[in-house]
Point group: C2
Chain length 203, copies 2
Protein backbone atom coordinates (compact mmCIF):
# COMPACT_ATOMS: atom_id res chain seq x y z
CA UNK A 1 0.00 0.00 0.00
CA UNK A 2 2.72 2.39 1.03
CA UNK A 3 4.65 1.41 -2.07
CA UNK A 4 1.62 1.96 -4.33
CA UNK A 5 1.10 5.42 -2.85
CA UNK A 6 4.75 6.19 -3.38
CA UNK A 7 4.67 5.09 -7.00
CA UNK A 8 1.58 7.25 -7.54
CA UNK A 9 3.16 10.28 -6.01
CA UNK A 10 6.39 9.73 -7.92
CA UNK A 11 4.32 9.53 -11.12
CA UNK A 12 2.42 12.69 -10.27
CA UNK A 13 5.56 14.57 -9.46
CA UNK A 14 7.36 13.34 -12.58
CA UNK A 15 4.36 14.47 -14.65
CA UNK A 16 4.65 17.88 -13.01
CA UNK A 17 8.37 17.98 -13.76
CA UNK A 18 7.70 17.06 -17.37
CA UNK A 19 5.11 19.83 -17.68
CA UNK A 20 7.42 22.35 -16.09
CA UNK A 21 10.22 21.22 -18.37
CA UNK A 22 8.02 21.58 -21.43
CA UNK A 23 6.89 25.08 -20.43
CA UNK A 24 10.50 26.06 -19.85
CA UNK A 25 11.49 24.67 -23.24
CA UNK A 26 8.75 26.77 -24.87
CA UNK A 27 10.05 29.88 -23.09
CA UNK A 28 13.54 29.11 -24.33
CA UNK A 29 12.18 28.55 -27.84
CA UNK A 30 10.66 32.04 -27.86
CA UNK A 31 13.88 33.57 -26.59
CA UNK A 32 15.89 31.64 -29.18
CA UNK A 33 13.53 32.72 -31.91
CA UNK A 34 14.03 36.38 -30.98
CA UNK A 35 17.78 35.84 -31.36
CA UNK A 36 17.26 34.01 -34.69
CA UNK A 37 15.27 36.96 -36.01
CA UNK A 38 17.79 39.50 -34.79
CA UNK A 39 20.97 37.74 -35.87
CA UNK A 40 19.88 35.13 -38.40
CA UNK A 41 19.81 31.42 -37.58
CA UNK A 42 23.35 30.75 -38.80
CA UNK A 43 24.91 33.49 -36.66
CA UNK A 44 22.91 32.86 -33.45
CA UNK A 45 24.93 31.22 -30.67
CA UNK A 46 23.89 29.23 -27.58
CA UNK A 47 25.49 31.83 -25.31
CA UNK A 48 23.34 34.59 -26.78
CA UNK A 49 20.22 32.41 -26.58
CA UNK A 50 20.94 31.65 -22.91
CA UNK A 51 21.33 35.35 -22.18
CA UNK A 52 18.07 36.19 -23.94
CA UNK A 53 16.29 33.45 -21.95
CA UNK A 54 17.78 34.67 -18.67
CA UNK A 55 19.70 31.42 -18.13
CA UNK A 56 23.33 30.55 -17.67
CA UNK A 57 24.76 28.70 -20.70
CA UNK A 58 25.11 25.59 -18.52
CA UNK A 59 21.47 25.76 -17.54
CA UNK A 60 20.41 26.15 -21.18
CA UNK A 61 22.27 22.94 -22.05
CA UNK A 62 20.16 21.20 -19.42
CA UNK A 63 17.11 21.81 -21.64
CA UNK A 64 18.61 21.61 -25.13
CA UNK A 65 21.76 19.87 -26.32
CA UNK A 66 22.38 22.62 -28.88
CA UNK A 67 20.94 25.01 -31.43
CA UNK A 68 19.86 22.18 -33.71
CA UNK A 69 17.70 20.69 -30.98
CA UNK A 70 16.03 24.06 -30.48
CA UNK A 71 15.29 24.32 -34.20
CA UNK A 72 13.98 20.79 -34.26
CA UNK A 73 11.72 21.37 -31.25
CA UNK A 74 10.32 24.48 -32.95
CA UNK A 75 9.58 22.67 -36.19
CA UNK A 76 8.11 19.59 -34.51
CA UNK A 77 5.90 21.72 -32.36
CA UNK A 78 4.52 23.78 -35.22
CA UNK A 79 3.98 20.84 -37.57
CA UNK A 80 2.20 18.91 -34.83
CA UNK A 81 -0.30 21.73 -34.41
CA UNK A 82 -0.82 22.00 -38.16
CA UNK A 83 -1.40 18.27 -38.58
CA UNK A 84 -3.90 18.37 -35.70
CA UNK A 85 -5.80 21.12 -37.54
CA UNK A 86 -6.10 18.94 -40.66
CA UNK A 87 -7.33 16.01 -38.61
CA UNK A 88 -9.94 17.96 -36.67
CA UNK A 89 -11.36 19.99 -39.60
CA UNK A 90 -15.06 19.39 -40.26
CA UNK A 91 -17.78 20.34 -42.76
CA UNK A 92 -17.63 20.91 -46.52
CA UNK A 93 -14.28 20.95 -48.30
CA UNK A 94 -14.40 24.77 -48.27
CA UNK A 95 -15.12 24.79 -44.51
CA UNK A 96 -12.30 22.37 -43.80
CA UNK A 97 -9.84 24.23 -45.96
CA UNK A 98 -10.72 27.58 -44.40
CA UNK A 99 -10.25 26.18 -40.92
CA UNK A 100 -6.89 24.57 -41.77
CA UNK A 101 -5.58 27.77 -43.38
CA UNK A 102 -6.90 29.77 -40.44
CA UNK A 103 -5.01 27.57 -37.99
CA UNK A 104 -1.91 27.72 -40.17
CA UNK A 105 -1.89 31.53 -40.10
CA UNK A 106 -2.28 31.42 -36.32
CA UNK A 107 0.66 29.00 -36.05
CA UNK A 108 2.75 31.43 -38.09
CA UNK A 109 1.74 34.60 -36.28
CA UNK A 110 0.96 33.63 -32.68
CA UNK A 111 4.37 32.06 -32.35
CA UNK A 112 5.72 34.50 -34.86
CA UNK A 113 9.14 34.31 -33.41
CA UNK A 114 9.20 30.57 -33.87
CA UNK A 115 7.90 30.77 -37.43
CA UNK A 116 11.27 31.83 -38.83
CA UNK A 117 12.88 28.73 -37.42
CA UNK A 118 9.91 26.60 -38.48
CA UNK A 119 10.26 27.66 -42.11
CA UNK A 120 13.99 27.20 -42.17
CA UNK A 121 14.17 23.43 -42.47
CA UNK A 122 17.40 23.85 -44.44
CA UNK A 123 19.18 25.02 -41.28
CA UNK A 124 18.83 21.57 -39.72
CA UNK A 125 21.58 19.01 -40.30
CA UNK A 126 20.49 16.35 -42.81
CA UNK A 127 19.84 13.66 -40.20
CA UNK A 128 17.36 15.80 -38.29
CA UNK A 129 15.93 17.37 -41.42
CA UNK A 130 14.67 14.13 -42.96
CA UNK A 131 11.95 13.35 -40.37
CA UNK A 132 10.78 16.99 -40.48
CA UNK A 133 10.42 16.80 -44.24
CA UNK A 134 8.37 13.62 -43.82
CA UNK A 135 6.00 15.45 -41.44
CA UNK A 136 5.84 18.53 -43.62
CA UNK A 137 4.97 16.36 -46.61
CA UNK A 138 2.26 14.61 -44.60
CA UNK A 139 0.76 17.98 -43.77
CA UNK A 140 0.89 19.12 -47.38
CA UNK A 141 -0.76 15.85 -48.48
CA UNK A 142 -3.51 16.42 -45.92
CA UNK A 143 -4.29 19.88 -47.30
CA UNK A 144 -4.09 18.63 -50.88
CA UNK A 145 -6.54 15.82 -50.07
CA UNK A 146 -9.12 18.39 -48.97
CA UNK A 147 -8.67 20.33 -52.23
CA UNK A 148 -8.92 17.10 -54.26
CA UNK A 149 -12.05 16.01 -52.37
CA UNK A 150 -13.68 19.37 -53.13
CA UNK A 151 -12.80 19.06 -56.82
CA UNK A 152 -14.15 15.51 -56.92
CA UNK A 153 -17.47 16.49 -55.32
CA UNK A 154 -17.64 19.47 -57.72
CA UNK A 155 -17.66 21.87 -54.81
CA UNK A 156 -14.48 23.34 -56.37
CA UNK A 157 -13.67 23.92 -60.03
CA UNK A 158 -11.17 21.59 -61.69
CA UNK A 159 -7.61 22.57 -60.85
CA UNK A 160 -4.14 21.16 -60.21
CA UNK A 161 -4.65 20.32 -56.52
CA UNK A 162 -0.92 20.02 -55.81
CA UNK A 163 -0.11 23.37 -57.36
CA UNK A 164 -3.01 25.22 -55.72
CA UNK A 165 -2.10 23.68 -52.35
CA UNK A 166 1.44 25.02 -52.68
CA UNK A 167 0.10 28.44 -53.65
CA UNK A 168 -2.10 28.49 -50.54
CA UNK A 169 0.69 27.32 -48.24
CA UNK A 170 3.05 29.87 -49.78
CA UNK A 171 0.58 32.68 -49.14
CA UNK A 172 0.10 31.70 -45.49
CA UNK A 173 3.76 30.94 -44.80
CA UNK A 174 4.70 34.30 -46.25
CA UNK A 175 2.77 36.08 -43.48
CA UNK A 176 5.75 35.37 -41.20
CA UNK A 177 7.86 37.58 -43.47
CA UNK A 178 5.69 40.69 -43.37
CA UNK A 179 3.54 40.50 -40.22
CA UNK A 180 4.33 43.02 -37.48
CA UNK A 181 2.67 42.49 -34.08
CA UNK A 182 2.14 46.28 -33.88
CA UNK A 183 0.65 46.50 -37.41
CA UNK A 184 -2.88 47.48 -38.42
CA UNK A 185 -4.29 43.93 -38.56
CA UNK A 186 -4.32 41.29 -35.84
CA UNK A 187 -3.49 37.63 -36.47
CA UNK A 188 -7.16 36.65 -36.38
CA UNK A 189 -8.22 39.23 -38.96
CA UNK A 190 -5.38 38.17 -41.24
CA UNK A 191 -6.34 34.51 -40.80
CA UNK A 192 -9.98 35.30 -41.66
CA UNK A 193 -9.24 37.37 -44.74
CA UNK A 194 -6.55 35.07 -46.16
CA UNK A 195 -8.48 31.83 -45.71
CA UNK A 196 -11.54 33.48 -47.30
CA UNK A 197 -9.59 34.77 -50.31
CA UNK A 198 -7.60 31.60 -50.88
CA UNK A 199 -10.64 29.32 -50.81
CA UNK A 200 -12.63 31.65 -53.06
CA UNK A 201 -10.16 31.12 -55.89
CA UNK A 202 -11.20 27.45 -55.98
CA UNK A 203 -14.92 28.11 -56.60
CA UNK B 1 36.86 64.34 -88.46
CA UNK B 2 39.43 61.79 -87.40
CA UNK B 3 38.78 62.74 -83.83
CA UNK B 4 35.00 62.27 -84.24
CA UNK B 5 35.52 58.85 -85.75
CA UNK B 6 37.81 57.92 -82.91
CA UNK B 7 35.31 59.05 -80.26
CA UNK B 8 32.61 57.02 -82.02
CA UNK B 9 34.71 53.89 -82.14
CA UNK B 10 35.79 54.31 -78.51
CA UNK B 11 32.10 54.62 -77.59
CA UNK B 12 31.18 51.53 -79.58
CA UNK B 13 33.96 49.48 -78.10
CA UNK B 14 33.22 50.67 -74.53
CA UNK B 15 29.56 49.73 -75.08
CA UNK B 16 30.72 46.28 -76.18
CA UNK B 17 32.94 45.99 -73.10
CA UNK B 18 30.01 46.99 -70.89
CA UNK B 19 27.79 44.39 -72.54
CA UNK B 20 30.41 41.69 -72.17
CA UNK B 21 30.96 42.71 -68.56
CA UNK B 22 27.24 42.53 -67.86
CA UNK B 23 26.92 39.07 -69.46
CA UNK B 24 29.90 37.87 -67.42
CA UNK B 25 28.35 39.24 -64.24
CA UNK B 26 25.12 37.36 -65.01
CA UNK B 27 27.10 34.14 -65.49
CA UNK B 28 28.82 34.72 -62.16
CA UNK B 29 25.45 35.42 -60.54
CA UNK B 30 24.14 32.04 -61.67
CA UNK B 31 27.24 30.29 -60.41
CA UNK B 32 27.02 32.14 -57.10
CA UNK B 33 23.38 31.26 -56.77
CA UNK B 34 24.18 27.55 -57.20
CA UNK B 35 26.65 27.88 -54.34
CA UNK B 36 24.09 29.80 -52.23
CA UNK B 37 21.56 27.01 -52.71
CA UNK B 38 24.07 24.28 -51.93
CA UNK B 39 25.74 25.89 -48.92
CA UNK B 40 23.36 28.62 -47.76
CA UNK B 41 24.10 32.30 -48.31
CA UNK B 42 25.85 32.79 -44.97
CA UNK B 43 28.30 29.92 -45.52
CA UNK B 44 29.10 30.60 -49.20
CA UNK B 45 32.57 32.05 -49.79
CA UNK B 46 34.06 34.03 -52.69
CA UNK B 47 36.63 31.29 -53.29
CA UNK B 48 33.89 28.70 -53.80
CA UNK B 49 31.90 31.07 -56.02
CA UNK B 50 34.99 31.70 -58.16
CA UNK B 51 35.57 27.97 -58.53
CA UNK B 52 31.93 27.37 -59.52
CA UNK B 53 32.19 30.17 -62.11
CA UNK B 54 35.45 28.78 -63.49
CA UNK B 55 37.41 31.90 -62.49
CA UNK B 56 40.40 32.56 -60.30
CA UNK B 57 39.45 34.36 -57.07
CA UNK B 58 41.39 37.43 -58.31
CA UNK B 59 39.42 37.44 -61.54
CA UNK B 60 36.13 37.18 -59.65
CA UNK B 61 37.06 40.31 -57.64
CA UNK B 62 37.46 42.10 -60.95
CA UNK B 63 33.69 41.72 -61.46
CA UNK B 64 32.38 41.90 -57.89
CA UNK B 65 33.94 43.48 -54.82
CA UNK B 66 32.48 40.75 -52.60
CA UNK B 67 29.53 38.50 -51.81
CA UNK B 68 27.35 41.44 -50.82
CA UNK B 69 27.76 43.01 -54.23
CA UNK B 70 26.69 39.72 -55.86
CA UNK B 71 23.58 39.58 -53.68
CA UNK B 72 22.81 43.21 -54.45
CA UNK B 73 23.23 42.67 -58.19
CA UNK B 74 20.85 39.71 -58.02
CA UNK B 75 18.19 41.62 -56.14
CA UNK B 76 18.47 44.75 -58.30
CA UNK B 77 18.26 42.71 -61.44
CA UNK B 78 15.16 40.79 -60.38
CA UNK B 79 13.32 43.81 -58.97
CA UNK B 80 14.04 45.78 -62.13
CA UNK B 81 12.39 43.08 -64.24
CA UNK B 82 9.39 42.93 -61.91
CA UNK B 83 8.90 46.70 -61.92
CA UNK B 84 9.09 46.68 -65.72
CA UNK B 85 6.29 44.08 -65.79
CA UNK B 86 4.04 46.34 -63.68
CA UNK B 87 4.74 49.30 -65.95
CA UNK B 88 4.10 47.46 -69.19
CA UNK B 89 0.93 45.56 -68.10
CA UNK B 90 -2.16 46.40 -70.16
CA UNK B 91 -5.91 45.66 -70.27
CA UNK B 92 -8.42 45.15 -67.46
CA UNK B 93 -7.25 44.97 -63.84
CA UNK B 94 -7.51 41.16 -64.06
CA UNK B 95 -5.45 41.10 -67.26
CA UNK B 96 -2.78 43.34 -65.79
CA UNK B 97 -2.61 41.39 -62.57
CA UNK B 98 -2.36 38.07 -64.38
CA UNK B 99 0.47 39.37 -66.54
CA UNK B 100 2.38 40.80 -63.55
CA UNK B 101 2.04 37.56 -61.56
CA UNK B 102 2.98 35.57 -64.63
CA UNK B 103 6.17 37.60 -65.06
CA UNK B 104 6.90 37.31 -61.33
CA UNK B 105 6.73 33.50 -61.46
CA UNK B 106 9.08 33.55 -64.45
CA UNK B 107 11.51 35.80 -62.57
CA UNK B 108 11.47 33.30 -59.71
CA UNK B 109 11.82 30.16 -61.79
CA UNK B 110 13.79 31.09 -64.92
CA UNK B 111 16.55 32.48 -62.77
CA UNK B 112 15.65 30.01 -60.06
CA UNK B 113 19.14 29.98 -58.79
CA UNK B 114 19.06 33.71 -58.30
CA UNK B 115 15.66 33.66 -56.60
CA UNK B 116 17.07 32.44 -53.31
CA UNK B 117 19.38 35.42 -53.14
CA UNK B 118 16.62 37.73 -54.35
CA UNK B 119 14.33 36.72 -51.51
CA UNK B 120 17.00 36.94 -48.86
CA UNK B 121 17.13 40.72 -48.44
CA UNK B 122 18.09 40.17 -44.80
CA UNK B 123 21.48 38.82 -45.88
CA UNK B 124 22.51 42.25 -47.16
CA UNK B 125 24.25 44.65 -44.79
CA UNK B 126 21.87 47.43 -43.66
CA UNK B 127 23.36 50.10 -45.93
CA UNK B 128 22.76 48.05 -49.08
CA UNK B 129 19.48 46.64 -47.83
CA UNK B 130 17.69 49.97 -47.52
CA UNK B 131 17.57 50.87 -51.26
CA UNK B 132 16.45 47.30 -52.07
CA UNK B 133 13.58 47.60 -49.60
CA UNK B 134 12.58 50.89 -51.25
CA UNK B 135 12.44 49.15 -54.65
CA UNK B 136 10.63 46.13 -53.26
CA UNK B 137 8.06 48.41 -51.65
CA UNK B 138 7.60 50.28 -54.93
CA UNK B 139 6.89 46.98 -56.66
CA UNK B 140 4.43 45.91 -53.99
CA UNK B 141 2.68 49.29 -54.25
CA UNK B 142 2.44 48.84 -58.02
CA UNK B 143 0.72 45.45 -57.64
CA UNK B 144 -1.54 46.77 -54.89
CA UNK B 145 -2.59 49.70 -57.11
CA UNK B 146 -3.83 47.25 -59.75
CA UNK B 147 -5.87 45.35 -57.12
CA UNK B 148 -7.27 48.63 -55.75
CA UNK B 149 -8.17 49.87 -59.26
CA UNK B 150 -10.05 46.62 -59.90
CA UNK B 151 -11.95 46.97 -56.62
CA UNK B 152 -12.79 50.59 -57.42
CA UNK B 153 -14.13 49.76 -60.88
CA UNK B 154 -16.09 46.85 -59.35
CA UNK B 155 -14.22 44.38 -61.51
CA UNK B 156 -13.08 42.79 -58.22
CA UNK B 157 -15.06 42.23 -55.03
CA UNK B 158 -14.27 44.46 -52.06
CA UNK B 159 -11.18 43.27 -50.22
CA UNK B 160 -8.18 44.46 -48.26
CA UNK B 161 -5.95 45.23 -51.25
CA UNK B 162 -2.74 45.31 -49.18
CA UNK B 163 -3.42 41.94 -47.58
CA UNK B 164 -4.49 40.23 -50.80
CA UNK B 165 -1.41 41.64 -52.57
CA UNK B 166 0.84 40.11 -49.95
CA UNK B 167 -0.99 36.79 -50.23
CA UNK B 168 -0.43 36.80 -54.00
CA UNK B 169 3.22 37.76 -53.71
CA UNK B 170 3.72 35.11 -51.03
CA UNK B 171 2.21 32.43 -53.25
CA UNK B 172 4.44 33.34 -56.21
CA UNK B 173 7.61 33.89 -54.15
CA UNK B 174 7.10 30.50 -52.54
CA UNK B 175 7.50 28.78 -55.91
CA UNK B 176 11.27 29.26 -55.49
CA UNK B 177 11.10 26.98 -52.45
CA UNK B 178 9.44 24.01 -54.10
CA UNK B 179 10.07 24.23 -57.84
CA UNK B 180 12.37 21.64 -59.36
CA UNK B 181 13.56 22.16 -62.93
CA UNK B 182 13.10 18.42 -63.54
CA UNK B 183 9.58 18.37 -62.01
CA UNK B 184 6.28 17.62 -63.73
CA UNK B 185 5.36 21.24 -64.52
CA UNK B 186 7.38 23.81 -66.45
CA UNK B 187 7.75 27.43 -65.35
CA UNK B 188 5.23 28.61 -67.91
CA UNK B 189 2.52 26.16 -66.84
CA UNK B 190 3.05 27.11 -63.20
CA UNK B 191 2.88 30.81 -64.10
CA UNK B 192 -0.38 30.25 -66.01
CA UNK B 193 -2.10 28.20 -63.32
CA UNK B 194 -1.02 30.38 -60.39
CA UNK B 195 -1.90 33.71 -61.97
CA UNK B 196 -5.30 32.28 -62.97
CA UNK B 197 -6.04 30.94 -59.48
CA UNK B 198 -4.81 34.01 -57.61
CA UNK B 199 -6.83 36.47 -59.73
CA UNK B 200 -9.96 34.30 -59.54
CA UNK B 201 -10.10 34.75 -55.75
CA UNK B 202 -10.70 38.48 -56.34
CA UNK B 203 -13.84 38.07 -58.47
Amino acid sequence: MVQVLNVGSVRQSSARVRERNEARRLDILRAAARVFRRRGIAAAGMREIAEEAGLSPGNLYHYFSGKDEILLFCQENTLQRMLAAVQSAQGTAADRLRSVLHAHVHCMLDELEGATAHLDVESLPAKLRAPMIVKRDAYERGVRAIVAAGVKSREFARCDAALVTRAMLGAVNWTARWYRPDGALGADEIADALSEYLVKGLA
